[in-house]
Symmetry: C2
Subunit: 341 residues, 2 copies
């Protein structure tokens, strides 16, 4: 039984709205993180001076397009979903890289770049030996995203508009998201949200609680974010609270798999084994991609979660949060049927 | 017995002079290469219009600092050699990435960036399923490298000045290299050269022959380049020709290992097994790094070649031409003794 049913009259399955970021990935150790006041496993916002200091100190890196929801839409696009994205880069080389990479997987992305002010956002991703990633983000041009960038017609033509929690950080983005949520619900469409990061939940808990209880149709969170949202210290207590709200939620639990909360019940789905775990950057983003793709295919909760788990297993097996393997094949193997058509 | 002995009065072991390039790596297939007139396994020079067309058509990519000799010095630096580099970037974001990555491994790099004209050079690296790489390079700011960029004092303070064949492509670089060769030999130092690419040998065969017969103390070439240099179709014929010249040459033969030609004789050394072969970009560059590092350690021909083979095996096991594993450990395992001090 389909978890939910896609209407026939949509142009896009998924529209992501998020911080458009290029990741700068390097190996690091715990001492480096401590020395720079970074909290292992989380995301810290940094200003341009701190960004230059950190970059000067960190090791040789590689650059890969990132941004949480951008990673999700890129992967959903690679799987075959019809996807679009709204986010702000500058008209610089990193902005060109971001635009190229998201276009290359077929994502509709037409947000005009800013032509002055801060450079395209960078996220310094420090991967420790245990494959955990610690992030420091300089939001750069992302702070320019405003209501004028929300193409409400595009929102109305899209089944699910997917927002990232991180985008509550830049000041004008909140207004933009309010416009997007109203446009989606006004057209009878769905709104999905990822809570992004436990510290992000701390920064915006009141607003996130109102959103989850009021506007959000599909919620993605890892167990720490879900517990932080409700200020509880047991994941099952958070699940109970989500159940009471009565919409769809997927709570990821690393190698313990995920829990899907639906009006019909709660489903526990195991993780998919990864042959090697090199970098957990983007695991949550890819889980959401697989899950949302599953929704477009009319799959039930368990298969959606399994598709998410398979996509997450691919991304953690290499450095960077954009897929390297053929994701359609990865998900096909997990689900046991054809994908990508 | 040491292959050659390093003098005590040098400040740097190795100075690389080459095209300073950022690689843009993506998976591709043979049809794409043919459709864009690219010759599989080789490097094609492209202008800015072709670069934009190619980038627009190619898949999602990742960016890693590259440049053949820059890869070599970065890896030699990671191994513990004292290394410097001369090459031209622009004062743009890709130039900043190049500078950061080479500084991060301890390479002395002070060539001033150009402040106008073409952007930092990009090499589009298309990796096919068989792990072969096909390259299209837009030289950009590299064409600005000239004799004024050669710090002859730095050359005189360096044991081995290492030149890439590719740098004969930009017009003013030849003059720069002549200055560098004269400065090195004038100070009683050594000159090393890599032939870079069979087509590069075709473009500059006369000059390369004169160099190899006159100015080059240590030559690196793969078997195709060595055969092209002497216009012979048997690698052993090329080896015989190199032997007659009477200096040091290392001829790499992919999984058939390498052949080291010295005044004392010819040594065949096997390849080092790679657990997986994902991308052969940089195999030759890393072979040279291990080999040159071996020279700084006073190793014999076989151990130099083995260190080169071990470094090459690391680089082909992942995407990109800068090492991801701890190279000192990789070489230590192959050689059986401590490395990196």
């Amino acid at each position: 039984m389909s978890l939910i049913t896609r209407p026939d009259d949509v142009r896009f399955d998924l529209l992501g709205i998020g911080n458009a970021i290029v990741d700068i990935l390097a190996h690091s150790d715990e001492g480096f993180l401590e020395g720079h006041g970074l909290n292992k496993g989380t995301m810290t916002l940094i200003d341009v001076d701190k960004a230059e200091e950190l970059y000067g100190d960190m090791g040789a890196a590689k650059e890969v397009s990132g941004g949480s929801v951008a990673n999700t839409v890129a992967a959903a696009g690679a799987l075959g979903a019809r996807v679009a994205y709204i986010g702000k880069v500058r008209d610089d080389q990193l902005g060109t890289i971001f635009r190229h990479d998201i276009h290359a997987v077929g994502v509709h992305f037409e947000t005009p770049p800013s032509t002055q002010g801060a450079a395209t956002a960078r996220c310094f991703v420090m991967v420790t030996r245990d494959a955990h990633r610690t992030m420091a983000t300089h939001l750069g041009a992302c702070v320019e995203l405003g209501p004028e960038d929300i193409d409400t017609e595009l929102v109305a033509q899209t089944w699910i508009t997917y927002l990232e929690g991180y985008i509550w950080d830049p000041p004008r983005a909140k207004e933009a998201l309010r416009v997007a949520i109203d446009a989606a619900h006004g057209a009878g469409r769905l709104v999905a949200l990822t809570l992004s990061d436990p510290f992000c939940v701390e920064r915006h808990r009141t607003e996130f609680r109102q959103l989850v209880e009021g506007s959000v149709d599909i919620l993605f969170a890892n167990e720490h974010e879900a517990m932080s949202l409700f200020e509880v210290d047991d994941v099952w207590e958070a699940v109970t609270r989500l159940q009471a709200i009565g919409r769809i939620a997927a709570v990821t639990r690393s190698d313990q798999g995920s829990v899907v909360v639906t009006p019909e019940g709660v489903f526990e789905v195991p993780a998919v084994h990864a042959d090697q775990v090199l970098d957990t950057t983007g695991a949550g983003d890819l889980y959401a991609a697989g899950f949302l793709y599953g929704l477009t295919q009319g799959w039930d909760a368990e298969r959606c979660a399994l598709a998410g788990a398979a996509a997450a297993a691919e991304i953690i097996s290499h450095i960077g949060a954009r897929p390297e393997a053929d994701l359609t094949e990865v998900v096909r193997l997990a689900i046991g049927e054809e994908v990508g058509t």
